[in-house]
Amino acid sequence: MSSQKKIAILFGSETGNAQDFATILSHKLQRLHFSHTLSSFSEYDPKDILSCKYLFLFCSTTGQGELPKNASDGKFWSFLKKKKLPANFLSHVNVTLFGLGDSSYPKFNYAIRKLHQRIVVQLGAKEVFDRLEADEQSMAGSNKGTGAGVESVYFEYEKRILQFLKEKFPNRKLKNGEVIERDEIDPEIYLAPYSYLTLADEEDDPNPAASDNSNIKFEGDKSMKYGKVIKNERITDPEHFQDVRQFIFKNNDESVNDIYYPGDTAAIYSYNTDLAVEQFLENQSHWLEVADKPLKFTNGIPSHLRDGGIVKPLTIRNLLKYHCDIMSIPRTSFFMKMWTFATDVTRMERGEEQLNDQRDKLKEFAYDEDMQELYDYCNRPRRSILEVLDDFLSVRLPWKYMLDYLPIIKPRYYSISSGPCNPQIELTVAIVKYRTILRKIRKGVCSDFIAHLNTNDQVRYKIISNNLIRKSYHGKPMILVSPGVGIAPLMSVVKANVSNDIHFFFGCRFKDKDYLYQDILEKWNSENKIMLHPVFSRDRENSPDTKYVQDVLWKLGQEMTDLIVKDNALMLLCGASGKMPVQVRLTVIEMLKKWGNFADDDAARKYLKEMERDDRYLQETW
C-alpha cells in the first residue's frame, strides 16, 4: 500500500499491545482531522518515507532483543538498514519513539533502541522529544522504575504528540482550500474506516453458490500453507493438571518440502467454533438475515486482513468464524470504536436510564486513562468480547464496519520439535486452561483449537525461520536447559545432530506425570547422544537434593563452567518467562565467578553479555 501521507504511525507488535496503542493514537488523530497512515513497519512502503514528515513509532521487543516479525519483515526496515544511505537521509522527518519492553528479559527494549540508533543517530531524523520506554514487568508497569504503568507512559507519549501537532497545525485546510480552525470530531460520532463491507450485487459475484460453505478458501496470501493432522496425543499423565500435546501435521502437498531448522516456529492460524459464531449472531440478531449473503469491500481489502489470506465466500458468518477474534479480551481501542453503538433501548429492562448507564460505562472503558476499570472488568477475569456483548445488550453493531471495531485473529507461534525439514512437523503444545471469577473455564484460543483437532483435520500454517543457532557453533558442546514445554525447540536441536557433546537439563514437576518425551530422552542418554540431567520440582523421591534446573547446573558447576569458558559451549535456555530465566542467569554468573576465574560480578556479567552478543547464550522464553 502506497500513500503520500505526511504523518505516519508505524508499529512493531508481538502480542498486540503496541498495535493497540498505535490504534488509539490513530483514533485520536482522526478525531482531530490529521490525515495519516497507520501500519505495521512491514506493510509500510519504503518510498513513502520521502513524503513523510512526522513519524510516530511504537515497537516492542521479541526473541533475542529483536524487532517483532511485523516490523522486521517487509521492505521498510531492511531498506533503512542499507549501508549506503547518507547521514541526513531522514533529516526531513520528525520522529517520536515509544518502546514496550519487559525488564525480565536481558535485552530489555532493544528493538526501540535499535530503531533510535538507526533512525535518529545514524540517519538524522529529528527526535521531537526523548523516546519513552515502558516496562511490562513491574506489576503496574514502570518506566525505569518510576512506578508509572505502561498505560501512563503511553498517555504521556500521546499527550506530547497531540500537543506538538496542535501547536504546529492549529488550523486545517478543507478540500475546497478554505482554512478553518482544527476542531475535534464529537466522540459520539463513529469514524468509518476507509474500506468497509457492503452486500455484493449479482454482477460482483457471478458464482451463485457464494453462500455454499462446503468450499472454504483463503485468498491473497501466497505464503500460506495447508496441512493435515497426523497425530494429536496427550503426553502428560491423565491425572496431571496440565494437558500437553504432541501435535504432528504435514503439508497437504506431498511435493512441498517445508524448510526449517532448530528454533524455528510454526504459526498456527486458528478459528472460532461454530457455537461461538452462533452466540455472536444471536446477540446481534439483526445480522442473522444477512449472515450468509455474499459481501464485498467498498475500497478493497483492508491491509490488516492480508496476513493469512481472506476467506472466500466472503460472508458475515465466515468472517466471524475465520477472522474476527470475538473470543479475545477486548482492548481499549475496541471500546473506543464501539461504545457509541450502545443505542438499543428496546433490549433494556430499565429503559433509558439503563441505556445511559451502559453508554457511560462503555465510554469510560474507552477513554479512562487509568484503565483500571477496564482491567478489572475485562483483563483480570479474562472476559471475552462475546461475553462483554452479552452484558451490554444496548449495543447494536452495524455489520458493515465489523472488520474495523472487531480485532482480527492472529496466528499463534509454536516452537517446532521435529528434526530439521522433517515433512512431519511436530509441535509440543500446552493446552491452556484456567479459572477466574467467571464461571466458565478460560481457555487459550489457539491451544483449545488445537486440542479439538482430529487426525486428518486441516490446519493453516506458516513456517517462521528464526536462525537461532549460528553455523559456527555446530560441533561445539551445547548446554540445553528447559523446564516444561520449553523442551520443544531443544528436541529439534538434538535431532539435528549438530553436536556430539550435549548436556540436556530438563525440569518438570513429577517424574511420573509431566516428564515430557521421557522414553526418547532416556534412549538418547543410553546411546550417549546426550547427557541427560532431569530434575523434578515436586518429587522428592526422584529428585532428592535438587528442585530446579538451575540447581542441577550448579551441582555440575565445575564441568559446565569449563565447557562454557574453555570449550566455547553454546547455552540455550527455553521455557516460560518470569523468574526461571532470571535465576538461571544468576546461577551462570555465580558459576563463572566460582569456577571460571572471573574476579568479580562485573567481570562475570561482562563475559555473559559477550556470550549474548555472540548468540552463544540464547534465551527463548515466552
Binding site: 526523548d130 486545517r172 445511559n356 452484558d391
Partner: protein, 354 residues
C-alpha cells in the same frame, strides 16, 4: 491452647530465591502458636504499594539472608511496623544496628545480651502511654473534597475519587478523564437510535499547511533522496547488533513521574512467590463459592439458573442483574452473566468446568 498470634511475615527480596526458607518458617509457625496471615516483600512496603493496617499484628517477622550485623533496613519503615503491631506486639529479625530507631519509635529491645540465642532477639512495642502522642497534620489543605463528592454520584464501581485524592489536584482533571457530570449530559440526548458516522475518507488528505517547510535548507531534496531506492537488492546492510551501544549509551529517554495513586490492585507475576497469587486464588474461590449460593443448576441439563430459591433474590442495590460492570464489590452474582430478574436464563455457556 490460646488463640494463635496474628503474624506478618516480611521478606527480603533475595529470599524469593530460596522459597524453602519461607516454607520452613510457615511449617514451624504453629509450634510457636503463630498464625501467618500475611506475607509481603519488604520492598512493596517500602515503595508504598502495600499499606499495612494499624494495630493488626501480634508478631512481625522479618526474613532476610543478610548476616545479623550487616542487615540493611529502611529506617523509615520502623515507625510503620510499630503502628502495624498491636500493643506489646513483637518484631523479630532486626538487629542492634537500628537500636536508636527502635527506641525513638517506641520499641523495647529484648534478649540482646551476647549469650542469648539470636533467634530469640526481638523488639517489643511499648503500649502508648498517650504522653507523647503525635498529631497527624494533613500535608495538603483539603483539595480532595470536591473530587470525592463528585465521585460519589458515580456508579457503584467507579473508583475515581481515590485516584484523584493522592495526586496533586491543583488544576481541574484532564479533559479526557471525564467527571461524571459531563458524560451524563452528553448522553442525555433522547433519540439515539442511530449512531452518526463520519467518513474519514472524505477528509482532506493534505490538510497540513506547513509553511515551515519552505525554510528547510536541506541539501538533499526529495528527488536526491529518491535515488537510494534504486537497485538496493544487493546492497550491504548494517548489523542490527551494532545498533545497540554499550550500557546506557543509547541516548536519553523521557522519564515519567507517576502522579497516580498507589491504590491499584496488584497483579501476580506469572510465577508469583510473594503471596499475591494465593490471594488471587482465594478471591476466586470466595467468589465462586458465593456464586454457588445463588446459582442452582437444575438436575437435567445444568443449563438454567433458578432465581426462585428463597433468600436468593436480587439484592437491594438493584444492580445484581445488570452484569459485572455494574455490580457492587462483594456481590454474590459477580462472575455470572447479566440476567433478567425472575427469568431462568440459558447458561449453556457457563456450565463447563475444569
Amino acid at each position: 491452647m490460646s488463640t494463635p498470634k496474628i503474624t506478618l511475615l516480611l521478606i527480603h527480596p533475595a529470599v524469593t530465591t530460596t522459597p524453602e526458607l519461607v516454607e520452613d518458617f510457615k511449617n514451624n509457625a504453629p509450634k510457636r502458636n503463630w498464625k501467618v496471615v500475611n506475607q509481603f516483600l519488604i520492598n512493596k512496603i517500602n515503595d508504598g504499594s502495600i499499606k499495612l493496617k494499624n494495630n493488626e499484628y501480634d508478631i512481625i517477622h522479618y526474613m532476610t539472608p543478610e548476616a545479623r550485623d550487616s542487615i540493611l533496613f529502611p529506617k523509615k519503615l520502623i515507625p510503620i511496623l510499630n503502628s502495624a503491631l498491636k500493643d506489646n506486639g513483637l518484631l523479630y529479625g532486626l538487629s542492634d544496628t537500628y537500636k536508636i530507631d527502635a527506641l525513638i519509635n517506641g520499641f523495647e529491645i529484648k534478649n540482646n545480651d551476647a549469650a542469648a540465642d539470636l533467634e530469640a532477639y526481638h523488639w517489643v512495642k511499648k503500649p502508648d502511654t498517650g504522653a507523647k502522642k503525635t498529631v497527624a497534620i494533613p500535608l495538603k489543605s483539603n483539595p480532595t473534597t470536591a473530587a470525592a463528592s463528585s465521585g460519589a454520584k458515580k456508579l457503584p464501581s467507579f473508583k475515581k475519587a481515590s485516584a484523584s485524592s493522592s495526586s496533586e489536584v491543583k488544576k481541574p482533571l484532564p479533559t479526557f478523564k471525564k467527571p461524571s457530570s459531563s458524560t451524563t449530559t452528553t448522553t442525555n440526548t433522547k433519540k439515539k437510535c442511530v449512531c452518526k458516522v463520519h467518513h474519514t475518507a472524505e477528509d482532506n488528505d493534505d490538510d497540513l499547511d506547513d509553511d515551515e517547510e519552505s525554510g528547510n535548507s536541506d541539501v538533499f531534496s526529495d528527488s536526491n533522496k529518491a535515488q537510494f531506492f534504486d537497485d538496493l537488492d544487493d546492497e550491504e546492510s548494517v548489523e542490527e547488533e551494532d545498533l545497540i551501544e554499550e550500557r546506557d549509551n543509547n541516548g536519553n529517554i523521557t522519564m515519567i513521574i507517576c502522579g497516580k495513586s498507589q491504590t491499584k490492585k496488584k497483579k501476580a507475576c506469572k510465577d508469583c512467590s510473594c503471596g499475591i497469587k494465593e490471594e488471587e486464588e482465594e478471591e476466586i474461590d470466595n467468589i465462586r463459592s458465593q456464586q454457588d449460593n445463588v446459582v442452582k443448576f437444575t438436575e437435567d441439563e445444568l443449563t438454567e439458573i433458578d432465581f426462585t430459591i428463597d433468600g436468593k433474590k436480587i439484592g437491594g442495590c438493584g444492580s445484581c442483574s445488570l452484569g459485572d460492570a455494574f455490580r457492587c464489590t462483594g456481590c454474590p452474582y459477580l462472575g455470572l452473566p447479566a440476567f433478567k430478574p425472575g427469568e431462568a436464563i440459558n447458561l449453556t455457556s457457563i456450565s463447563d468446568d475444569l
